[in-house]
Symmetry: C2
Subunit: 255 residues, 2 copies
Amino acid sequence: MPASLQLSALPGIPLVAPGDDLPALIDASLRQSGLSLRAGDVVVVAQKVVSKAENRFVDLAAVEPSPRALALAQEIAKDPRLVEVILRESSRIVRARPGLLIVEHRLGFVMANAGVDQSNVGPQQRGQRVLLLPADPDASAARLRERLMMQHACDVAVIVSDSFGRAWRRGTIGTALGVAGMPALVDLRGQPDLFGRAMKVSTVALADQVASAAALLMGEAAEAAPVVLVRGLEWSQPPAPAQALVRTAEEDLFR
Amino acid sequence: MPASLQLSALPGIPLVAPGDDLPALIDASLRQSGLSLRAGDVVVVAQKVVSKAENRFVDLAAVEPSPRALALAQEIAKDPRLVEVILRESSRIVRARPGLLIVEHRLGFVMANAGVDQSNVGPQQRGQRVLLLPADPDASAARLRERLMMQHACDVAVIVSDSFGRAWRRGTIGTALGVAGMPALVDLRGQPDLFGRAMKVSTVALADQVASAAALLMGEAAEAAPVVLVRGLEWSQPPAPAQALVRTAEEDLFR
């Protein structure tokens, strides 16, 4: 285990628009702040700016709600077009209540509104367009990583992060949607504890913990400081994507 | 939001035994490493060493399993005395399966085995004694904080942390059991987003995120490095204990 960690919010990342070159923006911020990437650094990027760069906007005016979306929208008092977009992003509804919809996203994430975001999408578009999660956040992380490694000629990891609510406890926490270049999950099964006894608690959600640490610097909007550099982390296990963090229903005793 | 955070594992904290003066051990480690506490620092302490210092050990030989514990122990293939201890710590059983028991701890935490720990309790006692959570982790955090503030003459916060499994996702993450001197939960409801629109995502589990960050330095056993100093965190809301993080069943759509 490392003895210390340093986390830095990258300064001066501008508001991101579709087609923007996110690695170039990160690069410019690093240069501006006199930082350079080192081997082992982890770059945590807020989902929202990744989605914007990838133009994951949906224009609500162009959405035709299905009968199912219309019925559900009435039940929970939401815009039927928004509900339609959420349903298209979801594999099932976990819970519905007026004003709130918890679903299983098609990527396996259990989250409010399938991550479909109406806030911080810009003043002109208010109520007009919404923002989806990246189509494949692990692939987004891998692409960002490749570019950053090319630019900086060293091995770094990338996490695409979001804020999730959760069962049993109040408040959102930083959560990893996409991971590249590091193990999202660390398996300690069979490793001895301090007294040589095999540990029963077996796996640690390394990338989720890093996402939560980075969230401390991002702020709730996650756009004032959408990129955080984490330095000092160590791992010995092979890389694994964020999909490794998704628990199947069969093995989940908490749900 | 702060622009940077520094996390340091305090070196040389020895194995803790009942009655040990934990603030004095922390103090010695700080002096040894040339660190001193500053106003705004957060000291994260692993639950296990707090429980040991508070002598939360239970000798299994002295435990008489109830009929309910005997029946449940047979169902899940666990030591009936251990099951009895877990049931005494719990307000209800969430899920039981061979080898695994998820309960609601009397403090409201939904967790495996009510946090009753058989690992890292020492070679002589293997299978003989187990370790409970602190009786009142918020009070433990408050006592630690008072002592540290007296010794260092500055305002610091203390988090007593543990590793929790959770619904929907694999792997444990650092979680706050006890909090003193800072808001465990930050309420952002009604604050404007970057475009002046009131944010809907409302509360951030600040102390859980700090516990997850600190867990990156503690290691799974959480005894090799049971105390982590977090420097650079900022908050503007009044202190709130970890009990503020416990979600009631009525408001919980994720469970």
